[in-house]
Amino acid sequence: MSVAALEVRGLEVRYGPVRAVRGVDLDVAPGGVTALLGANGAGKTTTLMAAAGARRFAAGSVTIFGRDMTGADPEAVVRAGVAISPEGRRVFASLSVEENLTVAGAVVPDRALARGRRAEMMERFPILGERRRQLAGLLSGGEQQMLAVARALMSGPRLLLLDEPSLGLAPRMVDRIFEIVEALRAEGIAVLLVEQNAALALEVADRAVVLANGAVAAAGTPAEIADDALLRSAYLAA
């Protein structure tokens, strides 16, 4: 049994007096895909940002590939092989598509490798190749979303934290994103996938955790979650 890509135990995050996340446990197996599901405001993004070191938490532990990363800063988390595609299309608006990818590739020590990855991203997301010289701020919302995912992949992560990758994407593009998640899994890259689109997320995931009001409402295999009618109607509305 190899060591987990991500292990979160007893995570607790507070916003002032509000306990946004309450005792969440979460695992991502190496090369596995864990879906983190739940309604808006359930604490999914907060959990993901805490695991990424971008949000301080009151209690709990985060272990990444066997190393204790509790309280580590985001840079240390990235160095441990983690990439994040945050919610809300945080692209560098005044840089071109290509420059966005170049900046993200700056963490790769081997220049040729970084160039290769950049070319690979333009292939995986053909629309980014077409718009390589356009300023990222002038891309449409969905294109910015794709760029954010592509940028996260530039560092060649072993664990990818994806926050709502399908937000604002056309159905065809949503398919594409989920194909990419499956391809990543085939390459042995672990993924923590935060999604509203529960039905699709459950298709590609091998584990699922459902949050409600900041706590784990259910956890199990996608089949278990999908078969639980009560769970589906109460939390996933799928």
């Binding site: 509000v18 919610e87 718009r131 969905g142 409600a212």
Partner: protein
């Protein structure tokens, strides 16, 4: 659902107080917050005078003059978000003009022999001079405001600095009026504690009233998001101009107050050291609020006074520390750095001190306003575009697009990412200029309208990437929209209540928009837009990021509003289940062009649409799974 939403977001449920009493509670809270500011100033002045006698009274007078000046400064900076260094110019004008009008005529003849006849020999009382001073301040604000209001952000700040330097230079040069760089003396020392305190309290009341007024709300809305303000018909330039005029007039009077405190001064008295100190006080306290301005002055006065004691040299633990000049300025500078580091929004944290509308104190207030009934049904009209085109750097984002969307129905607009849907909305609402083509709504030419005129033609929009007025509460966001549509205050409040209830935002009404959870933000954008009672609404991905339950809830609310008011909706979304359920017709775009148009079933079956947009993968199969309920939904 109200409790559910509040519980799910982790926000305390404030549903206990009825929505209908909200406007009354907001008014009560506003009055209480003004009272807190007044009490702060009053208590500080009383404490200084009672504890330190004559010396304390001098400090108290200086503090009250500073309160008046910084509150005046904040009336512009706080409401527009632009830091101004130009208010020293207003203070200079006020001090010199009031000095000239009130100084003894005999003294004036010796000190200023070449004074132009217009200004000479008035020898008015301070009170008689005040209206002329205010009028001069207003005239100067109106003259300079035209240029400054055109700018935003850092360029506006630089322009205000330029204004200060120009006025300072003119004052130095106009020897016959100001004695140049020499001391201007003989100004009656009329500013005693009673006058200074009275002025400080009056300025607090005026600044508070302006901040909560229609124009104060517009200015703060434009500060938080200029594009969204324009879409509501609020012109950010006009809001900046109004705030500049109000604030400039107040600053001119504060300058007169300062002049009558000093008795003798030179242009340097109103230059950078003074301006810097006042800006520092404002930022330390919290720029966006009146209580921040008051608190900043109080803290800075105490700090400056303590440091001034030290400036002359002192003995610490047996070590003699020599006299250091300029220590007060250094201390203020350090205070700014420290405060910005620990509390980026100032000591008051960007909130007016005092109880909010949700406070228990106001829970007993009776319902003052009933939610407005739904507006009359929108008249039959259509949003029509012909040959609309726009390119960016040679890429045709929208090319020769023609379509029509009537009121009283929902028209879906779908297409792959980058197809030009949002650009089309931006063209129709004048956010971008079209290269070619025409767009009309109900006979009015949309493309001839200014950006802020589209709302008046009855066309409203929401934004894909959420553009809320983050510093305003949920209620204020919606109220601003209703006021911007020209409704009187009471009517606007009733309309705001109606939209808050329609979109389940009542329990969140006094939370700032920036603190809202995602789903509520999306609903607020639609509620804000409906408060203008438009005939046609362009919704740009209203359901993006919502789960199926939230999307269904939104669909139900939109259906109800649409049926009740007969508005037209142009609905952009990628959730096909959602678009199919609501739309009677769907327009499909790809690469800037319309590739298909028709009933949902026809469009769904169109091979070109499937190829470009839907695909044959998982998403398509999931969308098809739901086809049965969705056809039921359409017939209802």
């Amino acid at each position: 659902m109200a409790e559910g939403a509040a519980a799910a977001t982790g926000f305390p449920d404030r549903g206990a107080a009825p929505l209908a009493s909200l406007p009354g509670r907001v008014r009560a809270s506003n009055a209480a917050r003004t009272a807190v500011c007044l009490a702060l100033a009053l208590a500080a002045a009383a404490a200084l005078t009672l504890l330190f006698g004559r010396y304390g009274e001098r400090i108290a007078v200086q503090m009250c003059v500073n309160v008046a000046a910084v509150v005046a400064l904040g009336a512009f900076c706080g409401n527009t978000g632009i830091v101004s260094f130009g208010h020293g110019a207003f203070m200079l004008i006020g001090a010199y003009l009031s000095g000239l009008l009130t100084m003894p005529a005999a003294l004036q003849r010796t000190a200023l022999p070449e004074l132009p006849a217009l200004l000479a020999g008035w020898e008015l009382s301070v009170w008689a001079a005040a209206p002329a001073v205010a009028l001069a301040g207003l005239a100067f604000a109106a003259a300079s405001g035209g240029a400054i209001a055109r700018l935003a952000g850092a360029s506006a700040t630089i322009a205000t600095l330029g204004l200060l330097i120009i006025v300072h230079g003119v004052a130095l040069g106009a020897r016959e009026v100001t004695r140049g760089s020499q001391t201007f003396f003989g100004v009656p020392r009329a500013t005693d504690l009673a006058v200074a305190l009275g002025a400080a309290l009056l300025f607090i009341v005026v600044a508070r009233a302006f901040r909560e007024s229609r124009w104060g709300l517009f200015a703060r809305a434009a500060r938080d998001d200029a594009a969204a303000a324009e879409a509501l018909g609020v012109d950010p330039r006009r809001t900046r101009f109004v705030a500049w005029c109000v604030s400039g007039t107040m600053a001119t009077l504060a300058g007169a107050l300062y002049g009558h405190m000093l008795g003798a001064f030179s242009p340097a008295s109103f230059f950078l050291p003074l301006v810097f100190a006042q800006v520092a006080m404002m930022i330390v306290g919290g720029m966006t609020t009146v209580s921040g301005a008051v608190a900043g002055v109080l803290v800075a006065t105490l700090l400056q006074d303590a440091v001034r004691q030290a400036e002359g040299g002192f003995t610490l633990l047996g070590v003699d520390v020599p006299a250091v000049f300029g220590l007060t300025t250094v201390a203020l500078g350090l205070a700014i750095l420290l405060v910005i580091w620990r509390r980026p929004r100032g000591l008051t944290g960007g909130r007016e001190l005092g109880p909010g509308p949700g406070a228990r104190l106001f829970a007993g207030l009776a319902a003052s306003v009933e939610p407005a009934p739904p507006p009359a049904r929108a008249v039959a009209a259509a949003l029509e575009a012909q040959g609309l085109s726009r390119s960016f750097e040679g890429v045709a984002a929208v090319a020769d697009v023609g379509f029509s969307a009537p009121t009283g129905a929902v028209t879906g607009l779908i297409g792959p990412n980058g197809a030009g849907k949002t650009t089309l909305v931006n063209l129709l609402t004048r956010a971008y200029d079209a290269d070619a083509g025409a767009a009309r709504f109900g006979g009015a030419d949309l493309l001839a309208a200014p950006r802020t005129g589209v709302a008046r033609l009855g066309v409203a929009r929401t934004f894909q990437n959420l553009r809320l007025f983050g510093g305003l509460t949920v209620f204020e966001n919606v109220l601003t929209a209703a006021l911007a549509a020209g409704r009187p205050r009471a009517r606007a409040e009733a309309i705001a209540l109606r939209e808050l209830a329609a979109f389940d935002l009542g329990a969140l009404a006094d939370i700032r928009a920036e603190a809202l959870p995602y789903g509520a933000r999306k609903r607020l954008e639609i509620a804000r837009c409906l408060a203008q009672e438009p005939a046609m609404i362009l919704l740009d991905e209203p359901a993006a990021g919502m789960n199926p339950a939230e999307t269904d809830d939104l669909a139900a609310r939109l259906t109800r509003v649409q049926a009740e008011r007969g508005v037209g909706l142009l609905l952009i979304d990628h959730d096909l289940r959602f678009v199919n359920r609501l739309s009677s017709r769907i327009v499909v775009m790809n690469r800037g062009r319309v590739i298909a148009e028709g009933a949902p079933e026809t469009v769904r079956a169109d091979p070109a649409v499937v190829e470009a947009y839907i695909g044959r993968g998982r998403t398509a199969s999931h969308a098809k799974l739901h086809t049965p309920d969705q056809t039921e939904g359409e017939t209802t």
